[in-house]
């Protein structure tokens, strides 16, 4: 290996030095479009018997991806930051497209998976296009419901957490309640919530809030209670009053912990949202998922799952971005 390369080097030293870098740069530019082309090749080969509308929409979808890929390749010629990003990302992006191709072979191609439970990617896409209005409305309803429940839970959790963490009396009375009631999964309250609450939406908001409230309270309380006593001493000797100690010392010091609570709470909120929508609320992605399953429209089930994946991970990413902004002062933080 070493010998052969050195012999080549003696012939055209510059070409050898440049070639690997060039190849890397070239792959970053055309790797993704090639993957799209491969996915299209697979589609064209296996879907001859499939409905024409599905094939047409899927082809448009792939063409769109391919177009974006070519655009991305062209942009790399001008934008250095984007070029580095693509050099990092093109393998995983290409793999994602190739997964569509593999799925299509497994489903339409060799019919390995039982129908109608495992439809092909073109069919899933077609379902999503067909139900786009309903899916859009469901996403909107889910988002609105999630936000109301989550924010209510966060506010409740931070307030109770700060009280339990700071005031001894609040800790004495509040902590046992938290320890006994807190671990009950929010979804276990559903029977009770349906009786107490006048509307299914209200009960869903309450359930999500409870799901968020527990982790946020516990982590906020532990963060506040573990504020370094020397920070408090410093602030006292600088003339700080109790309100300053709570709001300007203890709460900022507890922020990393509070964010842990917010992340755990968000996970719990997603779970509770989907269950609540499946049980009581007659709208939202959870409801749409259950409804599609009842009609055995598994293309729509998968479409709903895909939308949920995008929906939830977008919100999660947003929370991480917020965390990074608020906690810029921390040295190393976990990346999402």
């Amino acid at each position: 290996m070493a010998e052969s390369s050195s012999s080549v080097a003696s012939a055209t030293p510059e070409a050898v030095a440049v070639a690997p870098a060039l190849r890397k740069g070239l792959l970053a530019k055309i790797g993704f479009p090639l993957a799209v082309a491969a996915a299209y090749g697979i589609h064209a080969a296996v879907s001859k018997q499939e409905p024409e509308l599905e094939t047409r929409n899927y082809t448009i979808f792939l063409a769109g991806l391919g177009g974006l890929g070519l655009l991305a390749g062209a942009l790399q010629l001008f934008l250095g930051g984007f070029r580095r990003w693509m050099q990092e990302m093109w393998p995983i992006l290409s793999a994602a497209v190739l997964v569509f191709g593999v799925l299509e072979i497994v489903t339409t191609g060799v019919r390995l998976l039982p129908l109608p439970y495992f439809p092909s990617p073109p069919k899933i896409l077609q379902s999503a296009i067909q139900d786009r209005v309903l899916i859009w409305e469901s996403t909107y309803h889910s988002l609105f419901l999630l936000m109301r429940g989550y924010l209510l839970g966060v506010v409740m959790g931070v307030v109770t957490g700060v009280c339990i963490g700071w005031f001894k009396t609040a800790r004495y009375w509040g902590m046992p309640v938290m320890k006994v009631v807190g671990p009950i999964p929010a979804t276990a309250w559903i029977p009770l919530a349906l009786i107490i609450s006048p509307s299914a939406t209200l009960s869903a908001i309450g359930l999500i809030a409870i799901a968020v409230w527990f982790p946020v309270t516990m982590l906020t309380a532990s963060g506040i209670a573990n504020t370094r006593s020397s920070y408090l001493d410093v602030a006292k000797t600088l003339g700080a009053k109790p309100s300053y100690l709570i709001f300007r010392v203890a709460i900022p010091a507890a922020m990393p912990n509070i964010f842990l609570g917010l992340f755990m709470g968000l996970g719990a909120a997603f779970l509770t949202l989907v269950v609540a929508e499946t049980v009581g609320v007659k709208s939202g992605l959870g409801w749409y998922l259950g409804w599609s399953r009842e009609w055995a429209e598994y293309g729509k089930v998968f479409a709903a799952l895909g939308i949920m994946a995008i929906f939830f991970s977008t919100i999660m990413t947003g929370l991480f971005a917020l965390r990074d902004r608020v906690l810029v002062w921390q040295k190393g933080t976990i990346k999402w």
């Binding site: 370094r228 020397s230 001493d233 410093v234 000797t237 600088l238 003339g239 300007r248 900022p252 002062w329």
Partner: protein
């Protein structure tokens, strides 16, 4: 080295009296120990007194009491004629660990005192002055984790000084620094002390540091914490660490501490 201070910068120091103060603590194994036993000390306004002694002699406890963070079991502490009952902005405390708030920039850290006392608006210019005083104007917007140990300790000093304390308490403030930074910081503290006339009480493990800086050195002994002896230091400033008198005094104090340690 000493620039003459502008009038509004001079905060006149206060006299401090410690009268027969005792303090007992319960250690984790439930045995009681006496951190301070009937300690009395009088510090004149504008003095720089250092407390020296082996660990466990109660020097940090005494400092925390003067700050108002601990209360004595018996005896009393007075600033002027006023009894110390709780922490107050007129008595600043600088710890060995700078304890900067990591979520605030250098500027905001220096601003903590004025903000906490509700006079933030009037002191904007002063904050900048103090940041310049400790030579960190290029780091005003940096977060503490970007600072070296010496820089962080300088911020901690500025943060305590901006309150114009009558008494500044320093609990081994230079203990964590390397030798060179340490000597520079000693001069810096001295410069501030001379310029502002603040009364300073300084806890240290380092005998050279105590001799180099103090007007008087208080030697303390442990179990129970007591004052063994108070030694006035009357050497010319700036003091020469290698002069005959310096070394003689050093030998005397070392002997005293060694003797004190042998008793137990």
């Amino acid at each position: 080295m000493v620039s003459s201070p502008s009038p509004q910068q001079v905060a006149e120091g206060s006299a401090l009296r410690v009268n027969g103060v005792s303090k007992r603590f319960v250690s984790p194994d439930r045995s009681e120990f006496t951190a301070l036993d009937n300690v009395s000390l009088s510090v004149k306004a504008g003095e720089l007194v250092s407390l020296v002694g082996p660990s466990g002699c109660g020097k940090s406890t005494l400092l925390r009491m003067i700050a108002g963070l601990e209360t004595p079991d018996s005896g009393e502490l007075l600033v002027g004629s006023e009894q110390i009952t709780k922490p107050c902005a007129s008595r600043g405390l600088v710890f060995q660990d700078p304890n900067l708030f990591p979520w605030l920039t250098v500027r905001k850290n220096v601003q903590v005192g004025p903000t906490a006392r509700g006079v933030k608006g009037e002191t904007k210019q002063e904050v900048e002055d103090f940041i310049r005083l400790v030579g960190l104007e290029n780091f005003a917007d940096a977060f503490p984790h970007h600072l070296s140990g010496g820089m962080a300790q300088r911020v901690a000093l500025a943060r305590a000084l901006i309150n114009h304390p009558q008494i500044l308490l320093l609990d081994e403030p230079l203990g964590a620094l390397d030798a060179f930074t340490r000597m520079r910081m000693q001069d810096e503290v001295l410069r501030l002390w001379q310029a502002r006339g603040t009364t300073m009480v300084f806890v240290t493990h380092d005998i050279d540091e105590a001799i180099y800086m103090s007007t008087r050195i208080v030697i303390m002994t442990p179990r129970p914490g007591r004052i063994e002896e108070i030694i006035p230091v009357e050497l010319e400033r700036p003091r020469d660490r290698s002069s005959q008198e310096f070394l003689e005094l050093r030998g005397r104090i070392l002997k005293m501490l060694h003797f004190a340690g042998d008793q137990h």
